[in-house]
């Protein structure tokens, strides 16, 4: 899995992040190893609070001030270690080489600045005059399917619908033609028909702009539809990763299996109750000694409670963090 070849845009190696809280150190991410290959879409799934957002925020070094990144952590983006970057390098990274789409398009745009101005602002790095910047902004709006873009540049965010705002956010993210696009649950705030449109649009634009994409979601159907590779996270750890086919058809980690069973879209017969994973996420301040999932795992045995499992290869790019995989 830790392929260090040049075909990876992003390699995260042994990333651990903790937050200093009044109760002590909250270990939000522990020993994350993931990579994003060139021109591929990688999906990250996991329930709320599993560290998805912390992971992507640390890629841009946008963590809260009380966050602490362990010293051995490395985030290699196109050969540069993001963790060692200075302030000006980081500004060159953000928006230009990696850009991000946020969950809620209603709040992701400044409400008192016109769309055209906000888009032109992104182009500050480029030596263009005002009219050229406007033309470029309008062109990007057209690319994401905003009708009559030249006129709409002077409109304010509240004059657009939610779906249109998310399209504008996508246009803004792609403006500097980044090598990596991070999408943080970009369709959670939208309704289902819009969701399909936005996903279709993102797929199309990814091909056009030839960037890699990291797609965070808790919607398994979307991940299956859009992504080439999938990473499953649970309570701050990567529990399983592999290509989308292996993961959805030959899931090995009990958590992944249960997560798939819980997907309402996959339930065949009507029942009174939706399937759930019993128990709750462990306390990240006071971690269990063994496997992080052991307290909720139906297939656990003594070893699971005693020591944490390593990451074991299943074949090809597929791996899981579970003793069962090693034993099989």
């Amino acid at each position: 899995m830790n392929n260090t070849g040049n075909d990876h845009v992003l390699d995260v190696r042994d990333l651990s992040v903790s937050f200093n809280t009044s109760r002590g150190s909250l270990r939000a991410l522990r020993h994350i190893d993931i990579s994003v290959p060139q021109n591929k879409i990688v999906g990250i799934v996991g329930e709320s609070g599993c560290g998805k957002s912390t992971l992507i925020n640390s890629m841009l070094r946008l963590l809260a001030p009380n966050a602490e990144v362990d010293a051995q952590s490395e985030i290699i983006f196109q050969g540069d270690d993001v963790m060692k970057m200075g302030r000006s390098d980081l500004q060159g990274l953000r928006g230009e080489r990696i850009s991000m789409i946020f969950q809620d398009p209603m709040t992701a745009l400044n409400p008192v600045i016109s769309i055209g101005q906000q888009m032109s602002d992104i182009l500050y790095r480029q030596d263009l005059n005002k009219a050229q910047k406007r033309a470029r902004s309008a062109e990007m709006l057209a690319q994401v399917g905003i009708p009559d873009p030249m006129r709409r540049l002077d409109d304010y965010p509240h004059q657009f619908s939610g779906g249109m705002r998310q399209r504008i956010c996508i246009a803004m993210a792609l403006m500097m033609n980044p090598a990596l696009l991070i999408a943080d649950e970009p369709t959670t705030a939208l309704d289902v028909t819009l969701e399909a449109q936005i996903i279709h649009l993102m797929k199309e634009l990814r091909e056009k702009f030839e960037c890699s994409m990291l797609f965070v979601s808790h919607n398994l159907g979307l991940i299956a539809e859009l992504c080439d590779e999938v990473i499953v996270m649970y309570a701050g750890e990567v529990v399983e990763q592999g290509n989308v086919h292996d993961l959805f058809h030959r899931a090995q980690h009990p958590y992944t299996q249960m997560l798939l069973e819980c997907d309402p879209a996959r339930i065949a017969e009507t029942r009174r109750d939706l399937p759930t994973i019993t128990g709750s996420v462990p306390d990240l301040v006071d971690l269990p000694t063994g496997c992080i999932f052991a307290p909720r795992c139906p297939k656990r045995y003594e070893l699971c409670n005693e020591s944490p499992p390593g990451t074991y290869e299943i074949g090809g790019q597929h791996s899981a963090r579970c003793f069962k995989v090693r034993d099989d």
Partner: protein, 298 residues
């Protein structure tokens, strides 16, 4: 959605409907309150700026034979106890009032914004320190504080301006700080940072436009307050030094001679009322026009 190509959008030849530069003025004038406010403010500003041009007499010229005269064609608002033309003195008093109001409110606005945003966006300890200072200064009653300062420094225009700046800045700073706090955790600020915007850029071009609207309204409504503070201190003889006219000192003269003529009190009081109404109406309507969040879809 793929049918739109860049060629359609480059469309510089297509007629682009853009709102005319002065559209906001129309919107303001369509509102009767706004039009009235603008009229009053314009009246006061023009009369103050053109005081030397409009006043028929020198405001210092004494004409003791005609003291305490009632309005006539020779003296539009009559004369005061020393026979000076009241109309000329009102015009020049407006100059002083506006000067004090604009300089002190302008300074407070700039200072308040800078300190407030620093407190809201900066580290926690700085926030706490600045808040402590703001609240301590705000705890002084304005007039008592002004009296104390004037007793120490001596009465002058600069002292009044200084006192007003010191007492109004914390209010603006608090509003700027609170808005900054609520705005800075918004996703659009995180989005800005993820697009590579630096701290100064976020503060100046993204936070500032979001907080300026309520502050400008507040400023517009504070201008009459400052004018009345200046008039009040001058009334007490602690403001501008005679013979410089001020609406407050004219009121004081009128108060002393109210048994002889009511015209001095009327002449000193009416501009104060008109200014207060004018700036309040204008501020109210400007907010309706300028805040894009309140703007109706066109």
């Amino acid at each position: 959605m793929t049918t739109i190509t860049p060629e359609d959008t480059a469309g510089a030849d297509a007629p682009i409907k853009r709102e005319p530069r002065l559209a906001w003025l129309w919107q303001l004038l369509r509102n009767p309150l706004g039009a009235f406010g603008l009229f009053l403010v314009a009246l006061i500003v023009i009369s103050a700026v053109g005081a030397d041009f409009f006043s028929p007499y020198d405001y210092k010229a004494l004409d003791v034979k005609n003291r305490l005269a009632s309005p006539s064609w020779a003296h539009l608002l009559g004369t005061d106890n020393l026979g000076r033309d009241t109309f000329s003195r009102i015009l020049h008093g407006g100059q002083i009032a506006l000067y004090v109001a604009l300089v002190s409110i302008g300074t407070s606005l700039v200072l308040g914004l800078a300190l407030g945003m620093l407190a809201g966006y900066g580290p926690r300890w700085l926030d706490n320190l600045l808040l402590l200072i703001f609240d301590s200064v705000r705890a002084f009653p304005v007039i008592m504080f002004a009296l104390a300062v004037i007793t120490v420094v001596g009465p002058s225009l600069e002292t009044i301006i200084g006192v007003v700046v010191m007492t109004t800045t914390p209010g603006y700073a608090r509003i700027a700080r609170n808005s900054t706090l609520s705005l800075k955790n918004n996703e659009f600020i995180l989005a800005e940072r993820s697009l590579g915007a630096g701290t100064i850029r976020i503060m100046v071009s993204h936070l500032l436009p979001n907080l300026i609207a309520p502050l400008l309204i507040l400023c517009s409504m504070d201008i009459p307050v400052v004018i009345t503070i200046e008039a009040g201190l001058s009334f007490l003889g602690l403001g501008v030094k005679p013979p410089t006219p001020s609406w407050g000192s004219i009121l004081n003269d009128g108060y002393g001679f109210i048994r002889n003529t009511p015209w001095l009190v009327i002449a000193g009081g009416i501009p104060l009322i008109l200014t207060t109404l004018g700036f309040t109406f204008l501020g109210e309507s400007l907010r309706d026009v300028f805040d894009p969040k309140l703007k109706k879809d066109r």
